[in-house]
């Protein structure tokens, strides 16, 4: 395996998908044991919670055809990840999901040791004969909530609580501000990186700081519901991340972008049982149900709901793409030329901020 950049791999297409298919399990009466390695605990109400929901959907949908095992708190990287993946393989799990970007190197290594076990790795870019990846187009959801913020924000200043400056996060931030500026060209997004996915106190404090500095909308790319809970108390509109956070913000959480892994987990397990699984790199959007926009809060005016739906439906039917040019980067240079819609490789390697973002590392 060579470590190519994400972009070249994606540009190279999915040639790996043509590799021979592994022997199926269809003839056996044996249950398919499916293992999940979780970054944190389902109680984060964010990333791991969403994967846990997906795992539950899988168990529910396929009933006694599968047996689902979850390992919590595997962490973002390191020998723990390897040990847990190996442990799952040794326990007879034939399909193993490694659910965060940092699990990639471990998944590559362990999948090579267990050629008869199928591994799938979430948000990564390296594949192998028995290793696929999967991801969802979260930026499509960001475009929808950016549209809502653009319409409803009086000051035109929003705060974005971010985790790490990886392409996934940069892409989401860009999609949000591009969408908002289509409505309000003066819209500004302040972004702060917390260097953590989950620290409720820090996320809450950052949200408070943004609000104190005049942001009248809060959105987050970290996993805890603390910012939503705070916004509810302060009466500042916000958006839920990864899971439906409306319980924490009944009046202020305008909608949530829900990571919906269930369909992919069910599809993959069915393919493994049928013996038709092949390594692939699916990147499901709103259209395929990879993510779901929860019903808008009643406080969102009807015309704004309609505008948000235009963006949502345009992305579903393929008529609208948030990154279609012309786009300028934050220093005013051309980022995407007029009329051009960048390919997926471009998106997955995104490290440039677009116009309207004030980012503080």
């Amino acid at each position: 395996m060579t470590i190519a950049t994400r972009r070249t791999i994606l540009k190279g297409g999915l040639a790996l998908a043509a590799l021979p298919v592994l022997p199926g399990l269809a003839f056996g009466q044996e249950k398919l044991k499916v293992g999940f390695a979780y970054l944190a605990v389902p109680g984060d109400f964010g990333w791991t919670y969403a994967h846990d929901q997906g795992a539950n959907d899988l168990a529910k949908a396929l009933g006694d055809k599968v047996e689902v095992t979850k390992v919590e708190n595997v962490g973002e990287a390191g020998p723990n990840v390897e040990r847990v993946l190996r442990e799952l393989a040794q326990q007879g799990h034939k399909l193993i999901f490694a659910t965060t970007f940092g699990h990639m190197e471990a998944a590559v290594k362990v999948s090579a040791e267990f050629p008869d076990v199928i591994f799938e790795h979430c948000t990564g870019y390296m594949t192998g004969p028995n290793l696929g990846t999967y991801n969802a187009r979260f930026y499509e959801g960001r475009a929808v909530i950016g549209t809502i913020a653009g319409h409803m924000s009086k000051k035109g200043v929003a705060g974005y609580i971010a985790s790490f400056p990886i392409p996934e996060v940069v892409m989401g931030m860009n999609a949000f501000v591009i969408a908002a500026r289509k409505v309000n060209p003066a819209f500004v997004l302040k972004a702060a990186y917390l260097s953590t996915w989950f620290d409720p106190a820090k996320e809450g404090a950052q949200a408070q700081a943004f609000i104190d500095q005049g942001c009248d909308f809060i959105t987050q790319h970290t996993d805890s519901p603390a910012p939503v809970e705070l916004c509810e108390r302060l009466g500042v509109p916000c958006f839920g991340q990864a899971s439906d956070m409306s319980a924490f913000g009944p009046t202020q959480c305008l909608t949530s972008i829900v990571d919906n892994w269930g369909p992919h987990y069910i599809k993959t397990a069915e393919a493994v049982i049928a013996g038709t699984w092949a390594p692939a790199q699916p990147w499901d959007g709103l259209k395929d149900g990879g993510l779901v926009i929860t019903p808008y809060n009643a406080t969102v005016p009807a015309d704004v709901q309609a505008a948000a739906d235009v963006v949502k439906n345009g992305q579903i039917d393929g008529s609208f793409h948030i990154f279609t040019g012309p786009l300028k980067d934050k220093d005013g240079a051309e980022f995407v030329a007029a009329g051009v819609t960048p390919d997926d490789g471009f998106l997955l390697g995104m490290q440039t901020y677009v116009e309207g973002i004030e980012v503080i590392q």
Partner: protein, 309 residues
């Protein structure tokens, strides 16, 4: 900078400072009695989960805080029994309590993930508490005023009461205190229980006031800051108050620096995060330099007491 913004910052500082002030006051009393309990973080987590669970179940944050205090005190009794009755090593026992508290709170809190709790009602009437200017005096959670009252109370207790004098004597010279007829172990048990209760309340302030949700590891290491704070304050309650607000300011500036940009964001956020710990070390050195060899730490700190009769 507008006055409203300045007030918002002060408000944020007071909020983040109060739990470390509470936990710090508890640990200060414990250490004044000659005991070093490194289990603050564990007791805070136990308090945080208990406070949240009780408030969520019964709807009263006051009841939740009371339960958190009791839970913290109960947890501290494990530490007390091991270190005071069985004379176990205090450092190791305190660490064990922190490890145990982390695991226990995570397990106990499973049922309460994703729930919300009712907030404390304002102590002061609404025009005062919600006024954009006057909220800086009247608008805080009752636990903030409680932490200030406790600071005055602890300072008065240690300085002006007979019981406080005995407690300090036990911490400075346990053998003499014992020979005069005071129960060294009894006094220390009481101090440890007080420290546990305060840590429990501090924990509940996280789960009920600062970020009113339950999540594993909610206190995120603030218990260690409280320990640093006690040393930083040279075991003096009022200095502890100043120190807590200073640490709170550093923590608040960290997030505001990011939001405001400019000169603050020029310094890396990691430096802000490390600053309370580095400041504590520097203060430790300054204290020692000034006292030239004569430490201000309670003389018996961390040493087991076993009268040989």
């Amino acid at each position: 900078m507008t006055i409203e913004f300045a007030i918002a910052i002060i408000f944020a500082i007071v909020l983040v400072a109060s739990p470390i002030l509470l936990a710090g006051l508890g640990e200060l009393v414990v250490e004044k009695a000659g005991v070093l309990n490194l289990g603050v973080e564990g007791m805070m987590l136990i308090g945080a989960v208990t406070g949240f669970a009780v408030t969520s179940s019964f709807g009263s944050p006051w009841l939740g805080t009371l339960a958190a205090a009791m839970a913290g005190a109960t947890a501290s009794m494990i530490f007390g029994f091991l270190t005071l009755t069985l004379a176990a090593n205090q450092v190791a026992t305190g660490l064990a309590l922190t490890i145990f508290g982390g695991g226990f709170s995570a397990l106990a809190g499973k049922a309460f993930l994703g729930k919300t709790v009712p907030a404390f009602t304002q102590l002061f009437p609404s025009p005062l508490a919600t006024d954009p200017i006057w909220r800086v005096v009247f608008g805080y959670s009752p636990l903030v005023y409680f932490s200030l009252a406790m600071c005055i109370g602890v300072a008065w207790f240690l300085k002006s009461t007979r019981a406080g004098l005995i407690l300090r004597a036990v911490g400075e010279n346990d053998l003499s205190a014992h020979s005069i007829g005071y129960s060294v172990t009894g006094v220390r048990y009481a101090a440890v229980a007080f420290g546990g209760a305060m840590a429990g309340i501090a924990g509940s302030m996280f789960s009920l006031v600062l970020t009113p949700i339950w999540a594993e590891g909610l206190t995120a290491g603030r218990g260690w800051i409280a320990l640093a704070l006690v040393v930083f304050a040279a075991w003096k309650p009022y200095r502890l108050l100043v120190g807590a607000y200073l640490f709170g300011a550093v923590m608040t500036l960290e997030v505001h620096a990011k939001a405001a940009g400019g000169v603050f964001s020029a310094l890396p956020s990691e430096l802000w995060a490390a600053l309370p710990y580095l400041m504590t070390i520097i203060v430790l050195v300054i204290i020692s330099l000034r006292r030239s060899g004569n430490s201000v730490a309670p003389a018996c700190l961390g040493k087991p007491f076993l009268p040989t009769i």
